[in-house]
């Protein structure tokens, strides 16, 4: 019976693999948006913009959250469950902070006259940053679930798979944000 199960051990876990394919799919969505952005930029009526200062703070927050999540998964592997719980909570807090800073950034843009409909370049900015934010919300929901499980006294789960899954996804949205930030800085 277990020949198949043993074979499975040498392979990547199917859920992890599914996540990687899903990441490829999400990348294509942003590739579609950024290519549309590049096409539009070369047409008339494009207005350049300055990114709000809040986006720099949010970048710091999400990079820091990646570090704490890395430490959390390390603590989990070493079965240092107290550290794991604390680090998960810090990661969650930083994730929420990132989202708050993005909203503040939107408000700064809006008050500077860079509203959604004023120019197509601003519309793109809102949509690209907003859709990235939507993906971070998904990650935050996963982090909330993981933290609740970590603090729950009823269930004890020592499977590394969920921790690995959220780590991969969270680092992905972090790197995606850095890419988008550089993209929006270089091409505007």
């Amino acid at each position: 019976m277990n020949t198949v199960a043993i074979e499975q051990r040498n392979k990547i876990h199917p859920h992890k693999f599914t996540l990687w394919v899903g990441i490829g799919s999400i990348l294509m969505m942003f590739a579609g948006l950024t290519s549309a952005y590049i096409v539009k930029r070369n047409q008339a009526n494009w207005v350049t913009f300055e990114l709000p200062i809040a986006f720099w703070y949010s970048t710091a927050a999400i990079v820091l959250s990646s570090v704490t999540l890395y430490l959390a998964s390390k603590a989990f592997r070493e079965r240092a469950m107290n550290n794991y719980r604390k680090l998960m909570a810090v990661t969650l807090a930083l994730g929420v902070l990132f989202l708050l800073l993005q909203v503040i950034g939107f408000k700064q843009l809006w008050s500077n006259g860079l509203t959604l409909t004023a120019n197509v370049s601003f519309s793109f900015l809102y949509i690209i940053v907003g859709l990235h934010g939507a993906h971070v919300i998904g990650g935050v929901i996963a982090l909330i679930v993981m933290s609740l499980k970590a603090f729950s006294t009823k269930t004890r789960n020592y499977s590394i798979v969920p921790v690995d899954l959220i780590s991969t996804y969270w680092h992905f949205v972090d790197i995606l944000w850095i890419y988008l930030l550089i993209f929006l800085l270089m091409i505007r």
């Binding site: 020949t3 199960a5 199917p14």
Partner: protein, 601 residues
């Protein structure tokens, strides 16, 4: 052993490895409705797809009624359709809604969800030797998102202003401005919401198909020992996962233009004498985003049909498939090229002619892998001992249609010829034959061939042969004349051709096409009857391997339970096409290589 299992204890499908012999007490709901068994989900996709096919086919009958008999009235139409057919004549607004929904339903709901949803779910785990999909939960969600999309799309048929009517390609500005037409109002909103659900469904499905194929093959099942169906379904899933998100991006921008006043696609537009404030947008941008999905979508529809036909042709010719690696390679080439040819739908949009010539070259390159495949199908048949089962007939029909429809693609792929042919009936004829009807034939071939595995009974053969002959002759009679209409310049999407002097000559021809279309539709109902009747009353399958086939799905019991194999998953020792080898008719994949077995055929 136990350590291996406990490593995966969070994992449902491996859980079945250990527990599958326990009897599950399944309720009606968990077995037939919210099932996580890939075979049940496949049947759900198939039956939902059949219902959609009837609806989509009926739409075409209704608009063919208008095209074939533009001068006549049918009072009974007003009885069923109300103000959409005032005075017994289909109204222009409704005519456009019909063609739009016909395209949407058949392209997405039948030939994407109904075709790959059914056969990827059914065949992948059975043919690669897996108990279920990588994530049965996501798989179930995939169906229910499709169901939700279906309900929303159906509901759009019943709103007062009617369903979307700007064509299945939903080009702005018609789709972006609620005031532009009747179908641009709530019908368009429902279309977009439904398609968003649909995209989620096909992404969840695609993720699962790819992971299952790469990750869950049984021992000995290397990638190059997979049946060509699995390869085709794999490339289909890759195409879907990479192209649907781009359509989603385009649709999100469209939603913002519709509802929040942005100007991605809109510029300098006057509606009903009122100048809109939108400035700087470009409708062509939408076309780029749409066709970046739209072209791969054609292969999402076609590849599963190719894969199933390859398998069925080899089994029923009692010969190995000719050029297995060339088949895989050409499907790979088609997958790559699918992403590089989208602008051939846009030759007349003012595209830079130099860019156009690049897209001509890449488009015509598709002829190479296509020709390789056709050559391999024909050489597989060559000197085989062919069994003309209904599945085989439809697979042969698929090859015929793929050749006839593919040849006209060479005309359309040339940007200079396309100036004349663009948006004419020539295009309609081309894509209906090569993508629509051909893929339908692949789907029918698959249904006739795997029905015994799906339902443990056979379909009625007499009805099947009637179905085949009327459909293939009918398909050619419907679409062949359309080439001539298109060459004569008859544009698509017109409501009434009899008012143009140049197209009045085609009146009797249009009437003929409409008559045949209705006949062919009636025969499809015969198939639907055969399908549902045979589920309950068909001849029972008594042997495990009725087609004497090599692949793994025929090593399961006649009606496999959840988990597919009652004992261990069989080990695979050879490729799936050892037919007529060493004087033996067929050698299943599970049989070890014999001591004196020859290396090649």
């Amino acid at each position: 052993m136990s350590s291996a299992v406990s490593l995966h204890h969070s994992d449902a499908h491996v859980g079945h490895d250990a527990h599958h012999e326990h009897h599950h007490h399944e309720t009606f709901i968990s077995k037939y409705v919210f099932s996580q068994d890939h075979k049940m989900i496949a049947r759900q996709f198939l039956i939902t797809g059949i219902i959609w096919a009837i609806i989509g086919g009926l739409f075409s009958v209704l608009f063919r009624l208008q095209l074939g008999y533009p001068d006549q009235t049918f009072p009974w139409l007003e009885d069923i359709l109300g103000h959409w057919a005032k005075g017994g004549k289909i109204q222009p607004e409704f005519y456009y809604a019909l063609v739009t929904m016909h395209g949407t339903v058949l392209v997405f709901f039948v030939l994407t969800a109904g075709l790959s949803g059914t056969f990827a779910n059914f065949l992948i785990p059975l043919q690669i030797g897996a108990r279920d999909m990588a994530s049965p939960m996501l798989n179930m969600l995939s169906y229910w998102f499709f169901f939700l999309a279906s309900v929303i799309m159906i509901s759009s048929l019943f709103v007062q202003t009617g369903p979307a009517s700007g064509g299945w390609t939903i080009y702005p500005p018609l789709s972006a401005l609620g005031d532009a037409s009747m179908g641009s109002k709530i019908g368009m909103d429902l279309w977009l919401v439904s398609m968003a659900m649909f995209i989620v469904s096909s992404l969840l499905g695609g993720l699962n198909y790819i992971t299952t194929i790469l990750n869950m093959r049984t021992k000995g099942m290397s990638m190059t020992r997979m049946p060509l169906t699995c390869w085709a379904l794999f490339f289909t899933a890759v195409l879907g996962v990479l192209s649907f998100p781009v359509l989603l991006s385009g649709a999100i921008l469209l939603l913002f233009d519709r509802n929040l006043g942005t100007s991605f696609y809109l510029s300098d537009i006057v509606v009903a004498g009122k100048i809109l404030p939108n400035e700087g947008g470009s409708a062509i941008l939408f076309q780029h985003l749409f066709w970046f999905l739209g072209h791969p979508e054609v292969y999402i529809i076609l590849l599963p049909a190719m894969g199933m036909s390859s398998e069925i042709l080899a089994v029923n010719s009692r010969k190995p498939i000719f050029g297995y690696m060339a088949m895989v390679g050409s499907m790979f080439a088609i997958t790559i090229l699918a992403f590089l040819v989208w602008a051939h739908h846009m030759f007349v949009t003012g595209l830079n002619p130099f860019l156009g010539s690049v897209f001509v070259l890449l488009t015509l390159l598709i002829a190479v892998p296509s020709a390789i495949k056709v050559f391999n199908w024909l050489t597989t048949l060559w000197r085989g001992s062919i069994r003309f089962t209904p599945g085989m007939m439809f697979a042969l029909g698929f090859v015929s249609l793929f050749i006839s429809g593919g040849l006209t693609g060479i005309f359309l792929g040339n940007s200079s010829l396309d100036i004349h042919l663009h948006d004419t009936y020539f295009v309609i004829a081309h894509f209906h034959i090569v993508m629509g009807v051909a893929s339908f034939f692949g789907m029918f071939a698959g249904i006739y061939h795997w029905f015994p595995k799906m339902f443990g009974r056979y379909l009625n053969n007499t009805l099947a042969y009637i179905h085949f002959w009327v459909t293939i002759v009918g398909a050619y009679l419907i679409f062949w004349p359309m080439h001539y209409e298109g060459l004569a310049g008859m544009p698509r999407r017109y409501y009434d051709y009899s008012t143009w002097v140049s197209f009045r000559q085609f009146g009797p021809l249009n009437e003929f096409i409409s008559t045949v279309a209705m006949l062919v539709f009636a025969v499809q109902l015969l198939f639907v009857f055969n399908f549902f009747w045979s589920i309950f009353k068909g001849r029972k399958v008594t042997s495990q391997n009725p087609w004497e086939s090599n692949t793994l799905e025929w090593t399961t019991p006649v009606s496999p339970g959840h988990g597919n194999w009652p004992g261990e998953i069989p080990e695979v020792h050879r490729w799936p096409y050892d037919y007529a080898k060493d004087g033996r008719d067929f050698i299943p994949q599970t049989e070890p290589i014999g001591a004196n077995e020859s290396h090649s055929h």
